[in-house]
């Protein structure tokens, strides 16, 4: 297992460096998006409207955080099951998405789309949310606050641990 410190967004040379099973410590900007946010993002693409985030520079984290306790930077954060996002993933990849963080296996179709677009699927450990929360330097709701835990949140992290699963 190689361990690399990566500053987001992921560069082409980072992409060439990393291999399946490597551990990455990510620093920089991450956006959360789970089921409902994916549905809305794909809805905007279908309508031909501009997206609120630049997918090509975005690291998308399948996560619905818990609320921020008083005096804290953020609540519990951790990956949710990626397969639920599989039906949306090919369209997001076709529109520039390069990096996704989630939990568990991907469908054959989603996996092939990730490979075809030279994108990367990273996994984070599930159920270590208090520990992952310690890597967060800033946290705010970026858009679609009405979705509650399913809104898009913007995180800045330092040394957020993930593993390379598909590339």
């Amino acid at each position: 297992m190689n361990i690399y410190e990566i500053h987001l967004p992921l560069t082409p040379s980072d992409f060439n460096l990393i291999g399946i099973g490597d551990k990455l410590l990510l620093s920089g900007e991450i956006f959360t998006a789970r089921d409902q946010a994916h549905k809305r993002l794909c809805g905007l693409i279908d309508l031909g409207e501009e997206l609120p985030i630049r997918l090509v520079e975005t690291t998308l984290f399948y996560c619905g955080p818990s609320p921020i306790p008083e005096g804290k930077i953020c609540g519990a954060i951790g990956p949710t099951t990626s397969t639920r996002m599989d039906i949306y993933t090919p369209l997001l990849l076709a529109n520039g998405l390069k990096v996704m963080i989630g939990k568990g296996e991907r469908s054959p179709v989603a996996k092939q789309a990730i490979l075809d677009h030279k994108a990367v699927y990273l996994t984070a450990l599930g159920g270590i949310s208090a520990l992952l929360s310690r890597t967060v330097q800033s946290f705010s709701c970026y858009m679609w606050e009405d979705l509650g835990p399913e809104a898009i949140y913007r995180l800045e992290v330092i040394n957020f641990p993930v593993y390379v699963a598909i590339k």
Binding site: M1, G21, K23, Q36, C63, G64, P65, S66, P67, I68, P69, E70, K72, G75, A76, I77, G78, T80, T81, T83, K103, G104, E105, T123, L125, G126, G127, I128, S129, A130, L131, S133, R134, G148, P149, P161, Y163
Partner: protein
């Protein structure tokens, strides 16, 4: 008749929800430490260490063990000589959920209906409550937080009565393999056998929350629990799908009498963030 005031009960439930949000079953921690001394692979050790450190971080930082603070699932045993004064048990429970989820910044994960709008209830209600009436003058309630990831990988089937114990083992292994890392292994497996369509699922859920170190009182079913655990661990799915010797911590079966034509089977999966507590008033 013993009278229990609803406000006392309310406070105890709130405390219980608070406790389990930041403290996993202590036997999980012991098993993980045991794993550290046995596993060889760096990746596996790293993952096990992270789970151990997470429990400490959760307690210290007051950040939930998992962002999925789940559905509240309860099994209540109500002594027939107990009278709960004031509100109904279910109403008190939901009031406690509402207060605890707001007070301790727990994630609101319940939607009003499953198919159309899926609008969040904004208070994590309703809880799911199973009540039985027992003898005596005590009220015992098991309170658990059940996340969606492992719950989604659970499985239910009405089997043929000719099904063999070996086929049950295979069915469980197949379910665990299909779940892969999605259910956040190492798992606790609750299995219902017998009963009927609905009771077998309730027994599977109840089995998940039996003490991890207690085996089925019937030696045949205890053996089956052991066989299943061995077969599941032989898959080497391991911690979060990263391999290693432990894919499940424990297996619990609750069997029940059933119809001559039936062999109901249900398996409920629980993740390593095993959050539950039992209290008696």
């Amino acid at each position: 008749m013993r009278i229990i005031s609803s406000s006392v009960f309310l406070d105890r439930i709130i405390q219980a929800i608070e406790y389990i949000s930041f403290n996993p079953d202590p036997l999980i921690g012991l098993s993980l430490k045991d794993m550290l001394s046995q596993e060889q692979d760096d990746l596996v050790k790293d993952a096990v260490n992270s789970i151990i450190e997470n429990a400490d971080a959760s307690r210290q930082d007051r950040i939930p063990l998992c962002q999925d603070t789940g559905t509240i699932v309860c099994f209540a045993e109500m002594g027939k000589e107990v009278h709960l004064e004031g509100e109904l048990l279910f109403d008190i429970l939901n009031r406690a959920v509402k207060i605890a989820y707001d007070r301790y910044f727990l994630r609101l994960s319940m939607v009003e209906e499953p198919l159309f709008e899926r609008k969040n209830t904004l208070n994590n209600c309703p809880a799911i409550l199973h009540t039985t009436i027992t003898s005596g003058d005590k009220l015992t309630i098991l309170i658990a937080q059940k996340g969606g990831g492992a719950e989604n990988m659970s499985f239910h089937e009405m089997l043929n009565p000719s099904t063999s114990p070996k086929q049950i083992v295979d069915l469980v292994v197949e379910t665990v393999k299909k779940a892969g890392s999605k259910a956040c292994p190492p798992l606790i497996l609750g299995i219902g056998l017998g009963g009927n369509f609905e009771s077998v699922a309730i027994n599977a859920k109840r089995a998940v929350f039996l003490p991890m170190n207690v085996r089925n009182p019937d030696p045949r079913y205890a053996q089956l629990e052991e066989d299943i655990l061995g077969a599941v661990n032989a898959t080497k799915i391991g911690v979060q799908g990263m391999g290693g010797a432990k894919t499940a911590f424990s297996v619990h079966i609750i069997q029940a009498p059933c119809h001559i034509a039936s062999l109901p089977f249900a398996i409920n999966l629980q993740c390593h963030a095993h959050r539950h507590i039992s209290l008696t008033i």
